[in-house]
């Protein structure tokens, strides 16, 4: 999934660094919200109160209450924490795996390179949601399953970019000089490869996060992701959807939050290209 998004955006040019700032601000604000509100308004996101069904905002729940009288703000904050941390973990692990295999493939060349590329292409052929779905059927713990599944999806992107970049650099005079001087692979990576890779990583990470958050929500929405009563963005939407006429604001809460997270990440990624 991110392969598609990326290859599309990779070709975007233009000068809109200001959008990047907007993106950072949005994502930052949301992270701050997810981290701080549970501290400022310590409500249990699973705590039901049948007297408060769809009650309006009050001091304990500034966004009001849902269909079971649970604080919408607490649920939203915890849902964002969950999505953001799974997405963050997946992006981190997939970048480590992808960069490592990418450097290895380009460095070694030959059959290692061909085999790694073949495996990466084969993973690419498996739709990401399929991978995540199948892993979640294997791994019993849902967040863990998402993490493993999304890592399997996202590493390819890092692998392909790293491999391409390293292949370009490895025969450059600077790298050859370093190798002749007897510097180890770690030094060469830090000195030569990483500076070339680093600028692309922000874009990839932002797209990876967006992909991950979208997948978690989508699977929650088709009821094969997180299980109630865990607060999760897709699940919150599906739970509140039947009340769209009775309580539109309750439904809009997770919808707007998801939109802004994804928008922010898209802007960061888009802006970082320029």
């Amino acid at each position: 999934m991110s392969a598609v998004e990326h290859s599309a955006i990779a070709q975007q040019r233009g000068n809109w660094a200001s959008t990047s700032w907007l993106g950072f601000t949005l994502v930052g604000a949301i992270i701050l919200f997810a981290l701080v509100t549970p501290l400022a308004f310590p409500a249990d996101p699973a705590k039901q109160s049948l007297r408060h069904v769809f009650a309006g905002p009050d001091l304990a729940a500034p966004f009001g209450y849902d269909h079971l009288g649970r604080s919408l703000m607490a649920r939203l904050a915890h849902a964002l924490r969950l999505s953001l941390s799974i997405a963050g973990a997946a992006v981190l692990s997939s970048s480590v795996v992808g960069i490592a295999i990418g450097v290895l493939a380009a460095w070694q060349g030959g059959w290692v390179d061909r085999f790694a590329s073949l495996v990466a292409d084969s993973f690419l052929a498996l739709p990401g949601l399929l991978l995540v779905l199948m892993v979640s059927a294997i791994v019993p713990l849902q967040p863990l399953a998402f993490w493993v599944g999304l890592t399997l999806v996202l590493w390819i992107e890092y692998f392909r970019l790293t491999r391409a970049a390293v292949q370009r650099l490895i025969n450059s005079p600077a790298v050859e000089a370093s190798r002749l001087l007897g510097f180890g692979p770690i030094y060469v990576f830090r000195r030569h490869f990483w500076p070339a890779l680093a600028p692309m990583m922000l874009t990839l990470a932002a797209f990876g996060m967006a992909t991950a958050i979208m997948s978690i929500a989508a699977l929650g929405f088709v009821s094969v992701g997180m299980r109630p009563p865990t607060p999760e963005l897709g699940l919150m939407m599906v739970e509140l959807l039947p009340y769209y006429r009775e309580a539109p604001f309750a439904l809009m809460t997770p919808v707007i939050a998801t939109f802004f997270v994804l928008l922010g990440l898209n802007l960061v990624a888009g802006g970082a290209r320029s």
């Binding site: 049948l50 079971l68 009563p229 039947p242 009340y243």
Partner: protein
């Protein structure tokens, strides 16, 4: 370019409206998928769509009425039942229904998992125009068993040599013209039907898994009969013109099953305390959105089995706490009760297939916490409940149980509580209850015995009743004559007409 875009969407809209202009087709929408031709798998759909029929039917009150059999008699010793077949019935493939065909269909059904397999039947045969059951012992609910969808009469041509069903051929007022498994089926009026032919020529059955989507289909007027709506949508749809929302109480109950052989749960006082901790009406109105807390196991709908004489189950957390205190359980540091160094901590197994289960489990967890009982929820595949029942590791399980696959819950009591069952009692052995139920099955005993049986369940609490379910349907004003059957056997399809 924009013009072309607009033009193409205009064409699309025209195509869409022209599709509406075809002959009117009745659309029935329900969550259940067409998984295969076997009655055990999707039979209730063929039954509701009037495609296949049973020997005995039941009316909306649960009384037995003639189906493909016009009458039935029992021999004096109760060991032989004779069902007289209706004359002039033909299957959709043109072959006539005779006693041999019906006996074959029922013999095959008896060999497959289902209620009929639990009846003491030694042989089923066709004699003249009668289907004859030979029994090992008297069995009073036999006629009621034959109303079940797993005991429908398929045509002989529907069966493969090994008894597997390959095609859906019945005797009903509609015949199937097209099956697009798993989501869609088209039926057409069967002109050779034995009764009054159906009024509407064509109908479709559509399986729509998501409750929100079903509600939207009803709201848009796209489907005339939509069954099984989520509580929130019911509230919304009830406000709209052009359709009616119906609800009926159905013989399905939400229960908590307790392992009565478990060291803690074997103590009746603990089970009573857990029962007292349940705010049943609160849970029902919050999660199911109707006040149908179960103060005994079966709802008033099943009038023979809903006892007026038992003490209703109550909500009284204070009494629960004092009961547990008398049994030696005292609050620990974190508020959870402790006795001899052991925490009162239990695991509740449930499954997410029914959307209300995880929520109900969460509500129950909080209610138990109020009296100092720690509950861990294990949401897993529903089949883990029978599995853990058999290996003895189950502690508590929350599930929904249909008590009236037949109009009489007797069959369910026999399999679940006499003495134990996968979806009933566990580690429970009450000889009096078993004798009462077995005698009732043999045709001995009446209302006072049924009341006594319910009273035993009420005081012994092998399961804790939580709530009684309701079924909901949205029926469009475009049709008349549709019904909502508490026993979920019919929607009245063959009687439905287009409204004038």
């Amino acid at each position: 370019m924009l013009f072309r875009l607009l033009a193409s969407s205009a064409v699309a809209v025209l195509l869409g409206t022209s599709a509406f202009a075809q002959e009117r087709v009745l659309d029935v929408v329900s969550p259940f998928e067409l998984k295969g031709p076997e009655p055990g798998v999707s039979g209730y759909i063929y039954l509701q769509m009037d495609v296949i029929e049973t020997l005995v039917n039941s009316d909306l009150e649960g009384n037995l009425v003639p189906g493909l059999a016009t009458e039935w008699t029992t021999s004096g010793d109760g060991l032989e039942w004779r069902f007289l077949l209706r004359d002039g019935v033909t299957f959709h493939d043109g072959t006539p229904l005779d006693a041999a065909a019906a006996a074959h269909a029922l013999s095959v059904a008896q060999g497959k998992p289902g209620l009929l397999a639990t009846a003491p039947i030694t042989r089923i045969e066709g004699q003249g125009n009668e289907v004859v059951f030979h029994l090992a012992e008297p069995f009073e609910p036999l006629a009621a068993f034959l109303t079940e969808y797993r005991n429908m009469i398929y045509a002989p041509a529907a069966y493969a040599a090994d008894g597997a069903i390959t095609e859906v051929i019945g005797t009903g007022a509609y015949k199937i013209t097209k099956i697009e498994a798993p989501l869609r089926m088209e039926v057409e009026r069967f002109e050779g039907y034995w009764g009054e032919p159906a009024h509407i020529a064509n109908a479709t059955y559509q399986s729509v898994g998501r409750a929100e989507t079903r509600a939207l289909m009803a709201e848009s007027g796209e489907a005339e009969y939509v069954v099984n709506l989520d509580p929130a949508s019911v509230a919304r749809l009830a406000e709209l013109d052009g359709l009616d929302v119906y609800s009926v109480s159905i013989p399905r109950a939400m229960l908590i099953k307790a392992n009565t052989a478990h060291p803690v749960l074997s103590d009746l006082d603990v089970r009573r305390a857990l029962s007292l901790a349940l705010d049943r009406d609160g849970l029902a109105s919050a999660v199911l959105r109707y006040r149908a807390g179960a103060d005994q196991i079966l709802p008033p709908l099943l009038s023979d089995w809903h006892s007026e004489h038992v003490q209703p189950l109550r909500y009284d957390p204070d009494e629960a706490i004092s009961l547990l205190a008398e049994a030696g359980w005292v609050p620990g540091d974190d508020g959870i009760l402790v006795r001899e160094g052991q925490r009162l901590s239990l695991t509740l197994t449930s499954y997410p297939d029914r959307p209300e289960m995880p929520l109900s489990a969460a509500v129950i967890q909080q209610m138990f916490a109020e009296i100092g009982v720690e509950l861990t929820i294990d949401l897993t595949n529903s089949s883990e409940i029978p599995v853990r029942h058999h290996d003895g590791t189950l502690e508590l399980a929350l599930f929904a149980r249909n008590f009236a696959l037949t109009p009489s819950p007797l069959g369910t009591f026999l399999t679940d509580y006499a003495p134990n069952g996968d979806w009933g009692a566990m580690g429970w052995d009450n000889p009096e209850f078993v004798d009462l139920i077995r005698d009732l099955a043999r045709g001995r005993g009446g209302q006072s015995e049924r009341d006594r049986a319910i009273e035993i369940l009420q005081t012994e609490l092998p399961v804790l009743p939580v709530a009684w379910y309701q079924q909901t349907a949205v029926i469009s004003h475009a049709i008349t004559g549709a019904v909502l059957d508490p026993f979920e056997r019919t929607i009245g399809l063959k009687y439905i007409r287009w409204a004038e």
